[in-house]
Symmetry: C3
Subunit: 470 residues, 3 copies
Amino acid sequence: MNVLLHPDRLLPADPTTRAIARSLYASVADRPIVSPHGHTDPCWWGENASFSNPADLFITPDHYVVRMLVSQGIPYEALGIGEGARSDPREIWRSFAANYHLFQGTPSRLWLDHAFSTVFGLIERLSSENADAQYDAIAEKLQSAQYRPRALFDRFGIEVIATTDSALDDLRWHAMARESGWKGRVVPTYRPDSVVDPDSDNFGANLDRLGELTACDTGTWQGYLDAHRARRAFFRAMGATATDHGHPTPRTANLSEVEAAALFARIRSGKARDDDAELFRAQMLTEMARMSVEDGLVMQLHTGSFRSHNAGVHARYGRDRGFDIPVPVSFTLALKPLLDAVGMDPRLRLILFTLDETTYSRELAPLAGAYPSLRLGPPWWFHDSFEGIRRFRERVTETAGFRNTVGFNDDTRALCSIPARHDVSRRADSAFLAELVVTHRLDEGEAYEIALLLSDGLAREGYRLEQGDT
Amino acid sequence: MNVLLHPDRLLPADPTTRAIARSLYASVADRPIVSPHGHTDPCWWGENASFSNPADLFITPDHYVVRMLVSQGIPYEALGIGEGARSDPREIWRSFAANYHLFQGTPSRLWLDHAFSTVFGLIERLSSENADAQYDAIAEKLQSAQYRPRALFDRFGIEVIATTDSALDDLRWHAMARESGWKGRVVPTYRPDSVVDPDSDNFGANLDRLGELTACDTGTWQGYLDAHRARRAFFRAMGATATDHGHPTPRTANLSEVEAAALFARIRSGKARDDDAELFRAQMLTEMARMSVEDGLVMQLHTGSFRSHNAGVHARYGRDRGFDIPVPVSFTLALKPLLDAVGMDPRLRLILFTLDETTYSRELAPLAGAYPSLRLGPPWWFHDSFEGIRRFRERVTETAGFRNTVGFNDDTRALCSIPARHDVSRRADSAFLAELVVTHRLDEGEAYEIALLLSDGLAREGYRLEQGDT
Amino acid sequence: MNVLLHPDRLLPADPTTRAIARSLYASVADRPIVSPHGHTDPCWWGENASFSNPADLFITPDHYVVRMLVSQGIPYEALGIGEGARSDPREIWRSFAANYHLFQGTPSRLWLDHAFSTVFGLIERLSSENADAQYDAIAEKLQSAQYRPRALFDRFGIEVIATTDSALDDLRWHAMARESGWKGRVVPTYRPDSVVDPDSDNFGANLDRLGELTACDTGTWQGYLDAHRARRAFFRAMGATATDHGHPTPRTANLSEVEAAALFARIRSGKARDDDAELFRAQMLTEMARMSVEDGLVMQLHTGSFRSHNAGVHARYGRDRGFDIPVPVSFTLALKPLLDAVGMDPRLRLILFTLDETTYSRELAPLAGAYPSLRLGPPWWFHDSFEGIRRFRERVTETAGFRNTVGFNDDTRALCSIPARHDVSRRADSAFLAELVVTHRLDEGEAYEIALLLSDGLAREGYRLEQGDT
């Protein structure tokens, strides 16, 4: 018996509600996966090489998994991270298996069990006892052609997937995938943080490189903006329909051209004042919004994460090791300059994400329920979970409705978790809709229509994927 | 079959809990409506003229409806708002009907369906197909005497309704209603924002006018305070039992008389310093609280809305167009000066409202669960909904109990939604109480008593409506 | 019939879920009480004298009870508090009984009813009618040996209880209890606020006293730190396994030794600058964490309460009268200096508490789900309730799991409520776990294991009580 995946998982306890939810879920369970925001490695799609081993696939690169193990005293080195770390993947797998109980009650467990079961055919919960057997079973499958990235893409029913790519990236893997004759639709996303955020490593060199790539003079404000335009055009030509902006805060600004040019000059010449970096990021959000009005790229804003919270962990093990911790955020005043400038323009689409759930009902739903340019991204990161999705829908829907949201993002670099994450989302939304039906807030027929929108319709529409290059 | 109103709507899914909730709801469904805070137009009650057409009644003035349509790209002009706007109400109605699906899952839909069904006898959900027929049905009824404001007042079972009126208002419509021989109880509320907030339009002229109306010297601090006293007395004589204060923040101050007079002088003479406007509003809350101690008017404080967020919308379409967006608020330190001054005085009653739900359990319930002067207003604005009411009761009750709350406010300018809103509130409270009963946190007999309090008892008591002029 | 305690109280309404919850609860209902953080009076355990009367036991010292009565207009004096207060305990009891309905829907009622029923054998709900009879019944029992503190300790099944004690305390009552031959395990907790917080009353004199007690020179920074080390050693010798720190904010600092010594010198010499008191508290949290690394004492941090909010209440009736009101808190940046210094050290254990529930999912779960030194304390104070516990588990578990929490604290000075509080916690956790089981997020077998951890296992482990002096 497969103990990993109960067919009614995540559906409401009340029998009447569960029956409705089950039926709603069944209507969308097999819908294609539209994945407009994520972090799969473009190289997978370009090279289509086999994955090396179970630990590399499931443990080391997954910051959800790593941080939980670290939080209970397992050293990074035991997980294969850092200097002098353990290198035998089977040993890493055994540590993971011995501590698999730590994931009880977490979305990681749902995702992992789903992948173990549906992708690798395992039916027992991972433990020290079966660690070696499960390692062998996965490792063996990884060698077969059916477990290469493109085969998994097809098997998972992915219609389109977006990667997230530096503004300086040459998108060679995207080109390789397109030129290979493979039919899978993989599109890049323009992520210009490294050439927008003066606090990023090598910012000056990055701007020089931006100039080289575009033949624009990134020593001047207008040349710099033109360089962005050129790169955006390149990304669009490669299939991009969206940009993505990871900023510490949602602050925006709308300086005069003279002020903006002076600010740029101060930063470019290393004479930045105290607040200049933040002000520049703020100004650039408005500039990016203006470019989106021009070129139609959907703009995504992810804010509120304090990256690499622990200095020692950052120094020793690098970024993305599970130590990015949210801070309080407020959007209302922060977004006003941008929204005053272009917020009522129907050509702009700006999708907002938050790690501070207090903003759902207080700010985000009221903003998205008023501005035609705004949409709300799905629950993000720590909140991409059953309870997180429930809180999002409960707090957002009454003020913003369903159509000011954009369906689901899997947002992951863990390939095998993609179907699991969309499945959790479809189940959680079905549960929410069933609750509305059973309390007569929605007709059953309407619930089916909305379930379809939430599973893939709103993602396609919200990210303008119909209009994108196919 | 009427698809608009299921008799069990909003009641819990679990059959046992639903049976208890249904019975609790039945016990209060027909209780009189006590509406101590709202925005109906006094002119309706004074003149008792017919409403002009369905679009004017249901769409154009309802910022909940307008903002949702605007958020999905319908221009204000298509809704009859702004220069050169569409003027045919039937056309406006058709746009609304064609987009009625946008309100799925929102309280607006519950309110509208309730009004369409119970007030106008419609039984189908509004759509493009039936838009004209429903328009005609409503338009025809609006011409009959039974659909004039006072007839609706009686039909809705309204025991008393409070309007919200500028401190400078002559209350002529209230006088007209009283003198007409009509028995309906309509009372004004003293809302002095335009003569308390130095940032309001024409503040100086407003103070001059305040002086004229009261024969007080509003050029001096004491004369200005006396003018408030005089206007409050006038409002009381016209039936008011309450004041209402809409401030950006809940900040209060308790300056010495010398400091306060100097502050007033700076503001009156146009020599205000940076923080003076906010400080003056803060000081005036304490002054108003002191006057409430003297004259017994219940004080209401509504804070935390950033009004007219979009500059262009404000300039082109004016205020109250759906672009008031909440900001984070904190009461604990902000209210201390006022509460140190008069917070323990049993004669003061101060009712607090919030748009920042994080304050429910963190600040408001602890404050109201300690200070004898404080009561909590019901969920406000974006939170006046099923989920909003549930969150309020779940977060407030354990710390503040039921009796530190004041029942329900419909808070609306949409006359036909008044019964709908009270109905939602009674159903939501019945659902909450049933949950407490079924989990044995409350005896069933107690739940009936509390349901009665929440439906109208606490509103009457909380707003001192028994003591008011009848 | 006993109307006070339904056997299924707090268990979910859905029959399937309730059956699972009932069974989970049954498996832990009789587990020993491990109480690692609370405020029972050490004198009770040392002297083991009878409690004087029902009002002294249940009303006057219970700030939950007092504040609710005060909030509804009952003066402190009627509760026996303040100059010229009523002194007849029976009269105080009658006021309480007449207003017992105020506690409907609150945890106080659950706790009181549980104590009345299980400790004193009462079966009717308290009211004016039965006030005298219940008073007599309780008063009579209080005279018997079975109702002395140590007898209750045994009857309640307490395995270990921690008190909270000033760093300057001589722990004489703890010594008396140990020397009496009684087997009950009562341990002190090192609470150094009065010698760490420069804003506390008599801070200078407290430091002098600290010097006398330890023969350290508390006129110097190093002497002062040594004095802490000495007192911590004394507390450990007396059985302590933990320290507790009540700070207004969670701010920490990590100054150089020179800076810290200079800061100490400014404060000690009365030349503190504006921010020095806060900075000193911040620095001392890091120093305490370093000492915890050395001596293994578990560190608890309680922040975010604005103490004695009303000036008049504080002046007239003193501290702990129900007027401590929470303020917004943020941990992410505040804790960084401490965590950069020692946060990755496995020898440190720092347990975090909050009154600002917005930090659960935004900051605390991400922090505890990453740092090996961090654990989350249970819902605190206003949130130590059914809904509070539910919110905590729903917001924390998905990111931090179960094992980064430390079970339950009763945190009370109300002796008879201890079993009630642990019972509420066990029921609430059983309800939460049953919900996970019925939605197939957890296997039933796992739920039993976790129920055991949450009832007492994690408290014992989290507070290192196995390692403590027994």
